[in-house]
């Protein structure tokens, strides 16, 4: 091949690179090893982890939940036509991914109660960030009110990513575990109203917020209402759309995606029709081919960075399409009845454990507000030390609340996977660990 193109050595290929710029020695990396050796080496490294499972039973949530993932979802989502294809630029040979994403968008719309969805964002945090950007573009306003009940790590991401722009982020505190909109104070008066208000449903502390109240606040301010919802909870709870939300965002990890140390997850974003052209990232639309057959394609492409450049609605290019397809398959496996059962079991299990723990000496609920699959406790010992002892007993026992949401204590989550034996063993270990 070299001689066919008139070259003598591989080095000749790089003659355009000034010699002074070339590395003299090779990269300071070990030589390559065989694939099986890579697998065993990484297996060995990974063995220093404690994954959730029978000997490390998960009672932690905080945005990442240990839900059951059936083999059929993993098997279908692992098919290499889904895993090894690129962004569907050539629609005629990408109908598989495009249709699966169209189905995903439809399911997100039905879960959220809003008519329009995009084809995924990175995760829940990025979905809130993008929704806030949309609200600012729509209203022309440069501020946002965000409930302190939003996941504190999502908060941090949004704060970081808005630093370069003159955006005022106002944190609305919680009272009794629920957002207290009256406490928004003097900081944002009516002559400087926010583009949007953001509320989590349920919030980080598991509490089911009053979305009617949030909607009233948004309405009075002329701001958009952005609801960060838990998709699994939609098996039981009314949708954000039914409360008049303008946008709904979610972390989709609960829909067939493993814990994976935090990624890749799935950012879900749905909105009203009037916001469609401000949506970030890929959107799949239905159309026809030249023979009037139903077909799908990425659409409204002029919103996107590769065409609109600095005037694009977002910089997103690579998204989380594979996770979106996984979620669509998982939701189809569950169906409405399955989603309802999962939601009911999360609710029942969490309340059952909550009552067992609150019967222990010195343990109190932090709030009396209604909650879904997660709840916050006040414990008579240092939460970090309690969690260490629970880990020794085989439990990933929860998340220490360090004041991020205005609360100090312990955050405990229960999914449909937790058996009564696990819940009771955890309670016993909890009691022992407090002694």
């Amino acid at each position: 091949m070299l001689s066919a193109i008139g070259l003598r050595s591989l080095d000749d290929l790089f003659s355009d690179i000034p010699p002074a710029m070339k590395t003299v020695a090779s990269m300071d990396l070990p030589p390559g090893i065989s694939d099986p050796d890579v697998i065993s080496r990484m297996r060995k490294t990974a063995s220093a982890n404690r994954p959730c499972g029978d000997d490390f039973v998960c009672f932690s949530g905080g945005g990442s939940y240990d839900h059951y993932i059936p083999p059929v979802v993993t098997a279908l989502a692992s098919r290499s036509e889904y895993t090894t294809s690129y962004t569907p630029y050539q629609a005629e040979v990408a109908q598989g991914v495009l249709q699966a994403l169209f189905e995903y968008q439809t399911m997100v719309s039905r879960l959220s109660g809003l008519p329009v969805s995009n084809a995924s964002l990175y995760d829940g945090a990025s979905a809130v960030y993008e929704a806030v950007n949309m609200a600012m573009a729509y209203t022309g306003r440069q501020g946002v009110w965000i409930s302190r009940g939003l996941n504190p790590r999502w908060w941090q991401v949004i704060e970081t990513q808005l630093t370069g722009r003159d955006v005022t982020i106002t944190g609305i505190p919680l009272r009794g575990g629920m957002t207290c909109w009256e406490d928004s104070g003097e900081s944002s008066s009516s002559d400087d109203p926010p583009a949007a208000i953001v509320v989590a449903y349920p919030n980080y502390l598991g509490v089911i917020e009053d979305l009617d109240a949030a909607g009233d606040v948004a309405g009075a301010l002329g701001a958009l209402l952005i609801v960060a919802f838990n998709p699994v909870a939609m098996g039981l709870l009314r949708t954000p759309g039914s409360y008049g939300a303008d946008m709904a965002v979610a972390e989709g990890q609960s829909l067939g995606i493993p814990l994976s140390f935090g990624g890749p997850y799935l950012g879900m974003l749905a909105c009203r029709d009037y916001l469609l052209r401000l949506l970030p990232g890929r959107i799949v639309g239905a159309t026809t081919d030249n023979d009037s057959r139903r077909a799908y394609t990425t659409t409204l492409r002029t919103r996107e960075q590769d065409i609109r450049r600095e005037r694009a609605t977002s910089n997103i290019c690579t998204n989380q399409a594979l996770m979106a397809i996984t979620a669509a398959i998982h939701l189809s496996w569950l169906g409405p009845a399955g989603l309802e059962v999962v939601a009911s079991r999360c609710l029942s299990g969490a309340h059952y454990l909550h009552d067992l723990l609150c019967a222990l000496d010195g343990v109190q609920p932090l709030y009396e507000a209604p909650f879904f699959n997660e709840f916050a406790l006040r414990v008579p010992v240092e939460p970090g030390a309690l969690l260490e002892r629970l880990a020794d007993e085989g439990f990933l026992g929860g998340i220490e609340l360090e004041g991020e949401s205005g609360a100090t204590g312990l955050l405990v989550a229960v999914t449909e996977r937790r058996t009564i034996q696990e819940i009771e063993a955890y309670t016993a270990a909890f009691e022992k660990a407090m002694r």
Binding site: E81, S85, Q90, A91, N151, Q305, L322
Partner: protein, 516 residues
Amino acid sequence: MASRGTTATVQDSPDDEIHAVAGGRASGIPLVGKGEEPLIFALSVKGRKGFQLPDTGVPDLPAESLLPASCITEQPPALPEVSERDLVGHYTRLTHRQYSLDLGFYPLGSCTMKYNPKAFDEVASLATLVGVHPMAPPHATQGWMELLWDLEQALCRITGMSAFTLQPPAGAAGELTGLLMVDAYHRACGRRRAVILIPESAHGTNPASAKMAGFTTRVIATNADGCVDLASLQESLSDEVAAIMLTNPNTIGIFEQDVERICSLVHDAGAVAYYDGANLNAIMGVTTPARMGFDIVHLNTHKTFGTPHGGGGPGAGPVGVRSGLEQFLPGPRPVLDPSGRYRWDIPEHSIGRVHASHGNAIVLARALAYILSNGADGLLKVSQVAVLNANWLMNVLSGAFEVPYGDKCMHECVLSLSEYKRKYGVRASDIAKMLLDKGFHPPTISFPLVVDEAMMIEPTETESLQTLQAFVSAMLDIAREIDIDGSVPAKAAPVNTPVGRVDETRAARRPVVTST
């Protein structure tokens, strides 16, 4: 490949020999004819169930006794009601309507669609990796922290940077992260700078990221050689400029020979040199962004380090910085204590979190597996063969198609098909559809914007000479067909695909983005 010492060109190879070689084309499309696959909702039958859940023994407490009646839904969302068998049938049939890298050649320029080794699927599904909760305490996540640390060290050695953040979940997120660090750097120097310089040929994510980071952009012209115009750069530099974003080799596939001069002019103006690592696949082991003079680098793991692209994602976009800028990196990040244990650390002037956890961890694990497997020698070989393949293609195709810039390229080459537009009214997008009929995924078209009717071809190092020959043969056949029949075959294409030419105008004019 080079060791075979072949001198084969398309002219030497009889067509039937090319066609006899597997791997070049996806002759299997369509596998199931032209039949439509209904939406999953159309397969739904009321009351049908596919799910099964374990018996947990937890008492079922009625929601009405636990929650306010006002927040309980009347009925759950209208999801499909299908059996497991129907679910499998549907999502398997959809895969038969989908091209993929496993199926055949995928020469999308700027996308580096190299083969994704199957061994790493096993790494990515290790229970000891996928089962780990991101909020688990450090004593339960030492394996993950070591893995991320090892990857960071390897990326430093590949790029010459001194530290990396692995948090950004994609390349564009990496750009935003890098630019937020640019802003933090200037603020730490007691100044604000508003402008990011971006060459005409840059990826669209560059200006879009700059805007999201709060900057304005200024475009630098491309010169006759397809590189940054130094005069235009010098005119644009001022004390308003925060950084330049540069891809090298650039999006035309040409190495910017003046890159050291560019970086030093930028530095003289007090600005930062940012390297878009989209094209790192061309230079591993040959040179580094550090040697070129860059301060901040983002990488795309799905491009250079063989992580599968998933039909659009997930990716990962690690960002590296030169010594002196580590203090601005996002946190928390894993660091190795003298005790041999890993702990989380937040750099002194950290811009903050850019991901809710630790980035797209599973994708990062795959990237480390790829680097371990190749090692220093293998990564150099990757770049050499990627550049060889691109040059071979460019050389052979230049006999029939216009090459607008240069007579050599790096890992990708750009053709201009403007002659076909002029003579026959045939666009690059039409020729792409003709390629589909011949069983190939077409290269990138209409990018870079500085080339009229661009077709940007990136063969990558994982494709064989036989595959490249088959592709060239298809391109030459297309040229011949157009010469004979004009625009007729081009406008009719594709005909061998699951659907014909998709009406994108209709999709955009009356958007239907969900099923009713």
